[in-house]
């Protein structure tokens, strides 16, 4: 049993990982077409690409989740068949997923021991703790072993995921967008420590990313995928951000420029006064939030996910009861009832639109009519006019360019971007919108969809709509909002006009300093 323990002290050199002409087809769809990539020992390699470019498919083929249709994976110049993550582990490959894979109800120690493929049937906790303490002493990050995962902050969870791979003695780490839930400071800390391990020759890292800042600062080499094909490769020192963006997007796509119009005579539309709300487990999520949003301005709320943004939006959308405090819309108390939403013209673009804003099994037309089906012309004398519902939907599908086979297709069958467009069509088609609440409206969408949604939100603002924009993407907030507020542990801790906002200060405030 002693010999079976992962030995953290022996830092063997990482193997060389090479993929040659890998192709993966799902039915008739080619996700990867003849892609080759080489991760030399002791290098920090970035894998860039838009959503759907095939980055995840590539690493999943390497890790043995998918069987490649053709092509080879070589470890130290030997062709290897990797049929499962267990095989990949055997060759020293370990993957850190975008979503956390630790079990929330268990402690750090329990998760680490469980993650081992060779953990014993009966666990002697005293001996395990001794070994884990010894491992922690040599590791780049420190986490308390006895803390349950559910009590860790996102940054610590991400560190634990990486620690887990080091504990398993993985020498080639594959990271899938490891910093998507971290503050800029946390991201720099985690990547910086990994960079040190790479420089010392203990590790190779292959990191999926779309953040050019991190790629420029921490990586040596970059491979770019576009639509399942290899779009470029090179050393970071020879490349500029523009070069990489060009490889990623193909023909140069220019983002629609941001043009803001100043609205005359702005009046307060949404006022929060000491709003408090609880999490599902009854603990406070939003602590005494006070905020005013005027017509014709976008107020951004920045924060690391899990700091109360979700609960705040749910309260405003009527999905969660408030604990205490007041919400005023146009100066009147607001309880988020359907009647009040219609009277004050309040619209919402919640995160995860398929879950929070759609009925997946109902058709696109029915989903587009959810706000208005009981008013004329869609309802006449208490009966629905299916013809008018369809006609309106067909119009919206054209205007908002929703790609759907027909308006009768269940909305759950559409792609993420088109679900978001469907919701956008419903929420933004009204002519006199007063207040728009948007939460991570562009999460997981590709460049053109993001650009489209941004221009729609800006257009609404320029018409005089008050917009509350909650986002985990600082760049999005800096681009769109007029004022930025930072939420940390349920409190609105900082506010600044966007023009005067400094990314470093925002990062510190997001981390709760």
């Amino acid at each position: 049993m002693e010999t079976a323990i992962a030995a953290p002290q022996t830092k063997t050199a990482p193997p060389e990982l090479e993929v040659i002409n890998l192709t993966k087809r799902f039915g008739t769809f080619t996700a990867l077409d003849q892609v080759s990539i080489k991760v030399t020992p002791g290098s920090f390699h970035a894998l860039l690409g838009e959503n759907g470019a095939g980055k995840s498919t590539l690493v999943k083929c390497i890790m043995g989740f998918y069987t490649p249709t053709s092509g080879e994976v070589l470890i130290d110049q030997q062709t290897r068949t990797i049929a499962s993550p267990k095989d990949a582990h055997h060759f020293g490959l370990g993957m850190v997923y975008q979503h956390f894979t630790s079990v929330p109800a268990m402690t750090v120690a329990e998760n680490l021991v469980l993650s081992r493929y060779d953990s014993p049937q009966w666990i002697n906790w005293k001996a395990e703790y001794e070994r884990l303490d010894a491992f922690m002493a040599t590791s780049p990050f420190q986490i308390d072993l006895r803390t349950p995962i559910s009590q860790l902050a996102a940054g610590q969870k991400q560190k634990l995921e990486i620690l887990k791979q080091l504990y398993l003695n993985s020498r080639v780490l594959i990271l899938d967008e490891p910093t998507s839930v971290l503050t800029p400071d946390e991201a720099d800390e985690v990547l910086g420590l990994l960079r040190e391990e790479v420089t010392a020759g203990h590790l190779s890292v292959l990191m999926i990313s779309h953040k050019f800042r991190e790629v420029m600062a921490f990586t040596d080499e970059v491979t770019v995928l576009r639509k399942g094909q290899l779009a470029g490769h090179g050393y970071v020192r020879d490349l500029t951000v523009d070069d990489m963006a060009h490889m990623m997007l193909g023909e140069k796509q220019e983002a629609t420029p941001v043009e803001k119009v100043t609205i005359a005579d702005p009046k307060p539309v949404l006022e929060l006064r000491n709003l408090c709300a609880d999490r599902d487990n009854g603990l406070p999520a939003v602590r005494s939030a006070s905020l005013t949003i005027r017509s014709g301005e976008i107020v951004g709320i920045a924060g690391v996910s899990g700091n109360g943004q979700r609960e705040l939006v749910e309260v405003l959308a009527g999905q969660r009861p408030r604990h205490s405090g007041e919400i005023l819309v146009n100066g009147e108390p607001y309880q988020s009832t359907r009647k009040e939403m219609a009277r004050h013209q309040v619209y919402t673009l919640p995160e995860e639109p398929l879950r929070n804003a759609c009925v997946p099994h109902m058709s696109v037309a029915e989903n587009m009519a959810l706000r208005t089906f009981d008013c004329p012309p869609q309802a006449k004398r208490g009966l629905l006019s299916l013809i008018n519902i369809r006609r309106m939907a067909e119009g919206l599908v054209k205007v908002f360019s929703v790609k759907t086979p027909s308006v009768d297709t269940p909305v759950g069958n559409l792609s993420g971007g088109n679900v978001q467009r469907t919701v956008l069509a419903r929420e933004l088609s009204s002519t006199n919108i007063n207040l728009l609440i948007a939460a991570n409206p562009c999460f997981g969408l590709d460049f053109s969809a993001v650009d489209y949604i941004h221009s729609q939100i800006l257009a609404a603002r320029n018409r005089g709509v008050a917009v509350l924009l909650v986002s985990e993407d600082l760049d999005e907030l800096l681009k769109l909002s007029d004022r930025i507020t930072v939420i940390s542990d349920g409190e609105l801790v900082y506010e600044s006009p966007t023009a005067a906002a400094d990314i470093k200060t925002l990062g510190h405030k997001m981390a709760g300093h």
Binding site: S102, V103, P104, D278, G282
Partner: protein
């Protein structure tokens, strides 16, 4: 009645005695359900499993003359029902509760059908152990005779607690129940872990049924379980998915069940049916007190009762 000579002291004595007897099925079913729910599945069908266990234990004890063989058979009959539930409830988009209700009807129907010939005859009962060797009072002696199954159940509770904390399988079951995605990323077969948990849980519930027909009340009839299997599911929530607390909760429910008969034994017949309903009232009260629409329960396995995609 045994308690008459003891006067009013007979009431607490009868309640204690009733607790020791009546808590056995609660204990086994709740430990079985606790194991099942830790893996993320709900098995309401344990009510049917309990009846099937009671019937098969009684039948085998009668036919072979060996009550212990009956106990084993009850467990195996439970495993058979568990296999069906485990397979059905893990089909895509199938709801645990719906399958569970179907399994209650199937299990009890099968038990009634196969058990018809065994309602009349009397089968050999399990031996009892006396806790009252120190006393000469016969009433005490008869009140404090307990079933070896009770001792077995009391021993299983801390063992299960230890199993969840310090064995690889225990950690696997908790991982599958709390975060199937995490478990899948570790290369664990969710189906197999849940199937094993459901089958093992059903084995325990079957033994709980054996204690009904071979110890207390000690006969086979169609009304023998009177919803104890379903109450045990509520009890697991009350016990916060903790085996040791399942033990305490089972004693509480067993005690509540003994109030009615204990009062009757000292001649208080008023509100007899109300006292008999006390376990049900207790179940309702626990649900009202512990459940809130505003928050989730602490300790609940993260994926409990969610259908597979």
């Amino acid at each position: 009645m045994a308690t008459e000579a003891l006067g009013l002291w007979g009431v607490p004595l009868a309640i204690i005695a009733g607790t020791l007897r009546g808590s056995v099925p609660f204990l086994f079913v709740s430990l079985g359900e606790c194991l099942t729910e830790k893996s993320g599945k709900i098995n309401l069908g344990l009510e049917g499993t309990l009846l099937m266990g009671a019937m098969s234990a009684y039948a085998i004890s009668y036919l072979t003359g060996s009550p212990w063989l009956g106990v084993i058979t009850a467990g195996v009959a439970g495993m058979f029902l568990g296999l069906i539930h485990g397979w059905l409830s893990q089909q895509p988009r199938v709801n645990d509760v719906a399958v569970g209700i179907a399994m209650i009807i199937f299990g009890s129907g099968l038990a009634f059908f196969l058990g018809k010939p065994f309602i009349q005859p009397s089968a050999p009962q399990l031996p009892t152990l006396s806790l009252a060797g120190w006393t000469q009072i016969p009433q005490l002696e008869s009140a404090l005779s307990i079933s070896p199954l009770f001792i077995l159940g009391v021993a299983i509770a801390p063992l299960m607690q230890w199993f969840f904390r310090s064995s690889r399988w225990g950690l696997l079951i908790r991982a599958v129940g709390d975060s199937p995605d995490a478990a899948r990323a570790m290369g664990i077969s969710i189906f197999k872990v849940r199937m094993a948990s459901i089958v093992a849980g059903s084995f325990l519930a079957g033994i709980g049924g054996a204690s009904l027909s071979l110890f207390y009340p000690g006969s086979w009839s169609e009304r023998i379980s009177s919803g104890q299997g379903l109450m045990a599911v509520a009890l697991v929530i009350f016990a916060r998915w903790n085996p040791i607390q399942c033990l305490y909760a089972s004693l509480l429910f067993g005690g509540a069940q003994a109030i009615g008969p204990a009062m009757q034994s000292v001649g208080i017949d008023a509100y007899y049916y109300l006292f008999n309903a006390s376990p049900y009232i207790l179940t309702l009260l626990i649900m009202v007190i512990t459940c809130s629409p505003k928050r989730t329960l602490t300790g609940a396995p993260g994926s409990l009762g969610q259908a597979q995609e």
